[in-house]
Amino acid sequence: MITLDDTLMQWLLGAVVALPLLGAVAALLPAPPGLRGRDPEQAVLRHGVTVTGLVLAAALLLTAGFDTGQSARMQAETNLEWIPALSVDLHLGVDGISLPLVVLTALLTFLCALYTYFRMPDGPSARGFVALMLVLESGTLATFTVLDLMLFFLAFEMVLIPMYFLIARWGGADRARAAWSFILYTLLGSVVMLLGLLLIGVHAGTFDMTALAGLHGQNMSRSVQILAVLALGVGFAVKTPMWPLHSWLPDAHTAAPTAGSVLLAGVLLKMGTYGLVRIVLPIAPEGAEFFAPYLAAFAVTGIIYGSLACLRLARAGTGGDLKRLIAYSSVGHMGFVLLGIATLTPTGVNGALFANIAHGLITGLLFFLAGTVKDRTGTTTLDAMAGTGGARLYGRAPRLGGVLAFAAVASLGLPGPAGFWGEMLALLGAYRPAEGLSRPVFLTAMAVAAFGTLLTAAYLLIVVRRVCMGDAPPLPLAPGGASPLPSTAPETTATAGASVPGGESPGDAAAGDAGGSGAVTVVPRTEELTDLRPHEYAAFVPLVLLTLLAGLWPAVLLHLTDPAVQSLLPGVGR
């Protein structure tokens, strides 16, 4: 769009990675005179907004200077020697695959900082929160921009400690256990990944990702490639997360504070799939081909598993939690991403990268909304939010309800918002997988995944109905007049719920099964909930707009990713 000279681009990229780190150090120091603000808490939260804002500005400027005509080429490349002994270089660069993720990370972190400025989660002082969030940002941005395997590992590990403390210090119920399972799972995955990286480096003789990608695994034997992909795959699969290695995710999401959940879902999960695309596909193509059918099988199992888990959580009386439900829906959505990668075709991989971004935007928005709803109603338990005494957002906070419904619809993959294209392209890729892959396997996977989209639609509509609509206030009728319908088939209730008042009394499905006892004991709340506040608008509107933009004009993203994907995959076929 605009032409910036190379040195400036290099500095911009360096600033994107280093600024948050410097900001984190500065957050721990006492504020200088003139920047003290109202009180120390406010000053440090404002510092967080400033730094993440600067990073976002730098990322946007970088995007503006990015030559979209050559998005397959690494741009803004810096290569400095750091630890020659381990042949670790400070090698940074962005191409069409990493640039969208960089912008997404910078945007989501900025929105989180903004949101936190007005709504600090309960816990210890804001100083640590801001510092940890900035280290987290630096680690994720570094993951998406480094071009050295060892540096990639360093960046990959850098997010662990901040996220652990964000969950363990500022999280909700059961946070200690959730934080432990998060860090142990991911660390176990990433040390195994390190062995895979070392195996590649030792056998190929370099840790430089561009050089390795250019070799396309030529100087690694098939068995080494398979072993390396297995080790790398475990690390990335835990992070993504792929079924059956996902069990840390629901706990971590449920316990994390809003900003933590948004970053975890929006950014951290992408590190796994990014690693698969950036490292596994080009560097060890034979290994990738060997494992592709298994990856596809695990991916579609994850899609079905995530949807079924969500369906169960969405139903009345199961004590399902909204944040936990969004977390399980992430397992399903990341299943589509993995399926796209497993096809080893440009179509599928482009779809995976698109779904990555779409999931970051939409799920980030959903977690923001869950946090907002929790602020209003004090709970994220669906049973408490549904029914007569529940949230009934359409009536009590129509704008909040509207955005929630939009996010849910976007998440289920309706054409229009961004969710559609990623799933669509992934399925399309599976219809015609790369040469050498078993087509029947992928056709089956495609059929199963397509069925998964139906399940996804079902649970998301149930959630919208229960949270946004609830029951009408009871009319002064004779007892038994308003016979509640027991919710049986999700499909029917989802549609029927729009016209017929659903039948849940708060937190208790037994009353619904009792069949028209009319024992509505809780007086329904008719007072207004506070609708969206300005800072919530500020956090949600960019995400809504980008979701629509990517959905209506997918070429913006695909134009960036496609050339880069083509250059990653030539050895495998297209």
């Binding site: 721990l28 750091w82 630890i83 020659p84 002994a85 381990l86 670790v88 210890p124 640590g128 280290v135 680690g139 060892m150 590992f153 360093l154 590990e157 850098m158 662990l160 400690i161 652990y164 403390f165 363990a168 210090r169 432990w180 860090i183 142990l184 660390l187 176990l188 040390v191 195994v192 390190l194 062995l195 070392l198 195996l199 480096g201 030792v202």
Partner: protein, 530 residues
């Protein structure tokens, strides 16, 4: 023919200066007025000890080219007993730096803590410096006799240091340490005699060539000699199954001595192990390679699982945890050494040995830093006592968090991470896949207790409540002492703060610098050694 060897005093200056300082300390202690109490003596004597260590450190500077030797044979191949090559210089630097930090954290301990019998400062400094002399001599020794002498010079004063307090569990700890150590030395001596029988020489370089070509009738003897010699050094490194003395000894010893044993004494043992395996027995790699690999795997697993089981609120849990963690770290230290046996060529083997040295340097800095924080932070030496340290002393807590994460090998402890990477790379490079996986899993286990401790530092201070009851009966007297200590903590803090704080700051700065430029230590892992 000239049979008289010339002695190059500049080359042996480092051990000579420390030895002279040790003697000077003993004399100075006698010269000081008898009426001075121990606490008053500790200061000037400590300053003298510091001076000696700094001078010894400076005397390494003229040797930096790494090609000086002395005590050489005047005939034949001209083998030398004392070689100041770059390996020796690096390990000597490490030993002296470790000794410097030990002196700094010893000063508060010698100042006397309420409720504990004071340590006699003259004897303490003399013994410490004597042990340092042995540890400085050891990495430069190039024949088995000098090597074993240096090893004993390192260890013998350490028994006395452990038992110096003569109260509580110190005598028992010293006795246990002494008995197991002497047994190991005896076995080692037996091994050396076997090796001598096979090779006909005690010089490492000559053994390396002569032993594989020994009389076939003596082959079994030679192999037994190799294995038995390793035992003496494996003991010093506290490798499994020679580790049982460690937790008890660390708990009974004065805290700075425990730190000293965990770093300086262990490094000396490791240097000996490197010299013996890679220096004297390179031809027997297929014999000691698997042995060291198995030792490494067992050591890290045993150390980590025991550290994992340490309850944070048990008495002295901080020291106990550091003891077990030091065993686990010894396991990582042995990994590249095992890899050296499987290396394709001698350059790769040297790189693997370099990875061990790099790891040892990282470990020395952060482990002594952690000991310094324990000395400085909590009276009861329990992990639970560190709760809320971030509120009371934010910088100390940040430093401790950093040390622990370096030990765990996670960012922001960048140097710890890359040291672990170097270790694992050596293993992957030599095809020791299983050992690499075991080490990787151990990294995860280690993280649990290091991070648990880190989390305690930043937790809000506990609400004032009833003191937890002493857990075990034998801890009873110590615990009443702990209560007194807690009461007097404020008074102690003012008096003992400065040197320990300096030690923490030095270690923290070193660890930070190394995290920014890991190349400083890691270049040993790529041809920067020998």
């Amino acid at each position: 023919m000239n049979l008289i060897q010339t002695v190059d005093w500049a080359v042996i200056a480092p051990p000579a200066i420390t030895a002279a300082t040790a003697l000077a300390l003993l004399l100075a202690d006698a010269a000081l007025p008898k009426t001075w109490p121990g606490a008053r003596r500790a200061g000037p004597l400590g300053a003298l000890a510091l001076l000696g260590i700094v001078l010894a450190g400076l005397s390494l500077y003229p040797l930096r080219s790494g090609d000086r030797a002395t005590f050489c044979l005047t005939e034949g191949a001209g083998h030398c007993s004392y070689l100041a090559d770059s390996f020796a210089l690096i390990v000597q630097t490490l030993v002296l730096a470790g000794a410097l930090l030990t002196v700094l954290i010893s000063l508060p301990e010698l100042g006397g803590r309420p409720g504990r019998p004071p340590l006699p400062p003259g004897e303490f400094w003399f013994l410490l410096l004597s042990s340092v002399t042995g540890a400085v001599l050891l990495p430069a020794a190039r024949d088995l006799a000098t090597l074993l002498l240096a090893l004993e010079a390192t260890t013998l004063p350490a028994y006395a240091l452990v038992g110096l307090r003569r109260a509580g569990r110190a005598p028992e700890a010293a006795l246990k340490f002494f008995l197991s150590s002497v047994t190991a030395t005896a076995i080692g001596l037996l091994g050396i005699s076997f090796v001598y029988a096979g090779a006909g020489s005690l010089f490492l370089a000559e053994i390396a060539t002569a032993l594989p070509e020994a009389d076939p009738a003596l082959a079994t003897l030679a192999e037994a000699g190799v294995v038995l010699t390793l035992v003496a050094f494996a003991f010093k490194v506290s490798a499994v199954p020679f580790h049982f003395w460690v937790p008890e000894t660390y708990l009974g010893a004065p805290l700075p001595v425990a730190g000293y044993l965990s770093v300086v004494s262990k490094t000396a043992g490791l240097a000996g192990l490197i010299l013996v395996t890679a220096g004297a027995f390179p031809g027997f790699g297929d014999l000691w390679g698997p042995a060291v690999a198995v030792l490494a795997g067992l050591t890290m697993t045993a150390g980590n699982t025991a550290a994992l089981r340490t309850r944070p609120d048990a008495p002295h849990s901080a020291v106990r945890l550091l003891a077990w963690s030091s065993i686990a770290q010894a396991g990582y230290l042995l990994v590249p050494l095992a890899a050296a046996a499987y290396a394709e060529d001698s350059a790769a083997a040297l790189n693997a040995v370099g990875a061990t040295v790099a790891y040892a340097l990282m470990y020395a800095v952060v482990n002594l830093g952690a000991f310094a924080v324990v000395v400085r932070a909590a009276a009861g030496h329990r992990v639970a006592d560190h709760r809320g340290l971030a509120r009371r002393r934010p910088l100390t807590a940040l430093a401790m968090g950093f040390f622990l994460l370096c030990l765990a090998g996670l960012p922001p402890g960048v140097v710890g991470l890359f040291a672990k990477v170097a270790v694992l790379r050596a293993a992957v490079d030599s095809g020791l896949g299983v050992l690499a996986v075991v080490a990787a899993v151990n990294v995860v286990i280690g993280l649990v207790y290091y991070l648990r401790w880190t989390a305690v530092l930043f937790r809000e201070p506990a609400a004032p409540g009833p003191e937890p009851e002493p857990v075990s009966a034998e801890e009873g007297p110590l615990h009443t002492a702990t209560a007194t200590v807690t009461a007097a903590a404020t008074a102690v803090r003012t008096r003992t703060g400065a040197p320990a704080a300096l030690a923490v700051a030095l270690a923290a700065v070193a660890a930070l610098v190394l995290s920014g430029w890991p190349q400083i230590i890691l270049h040993f892992a790529s041809g920067g050694l020998f």
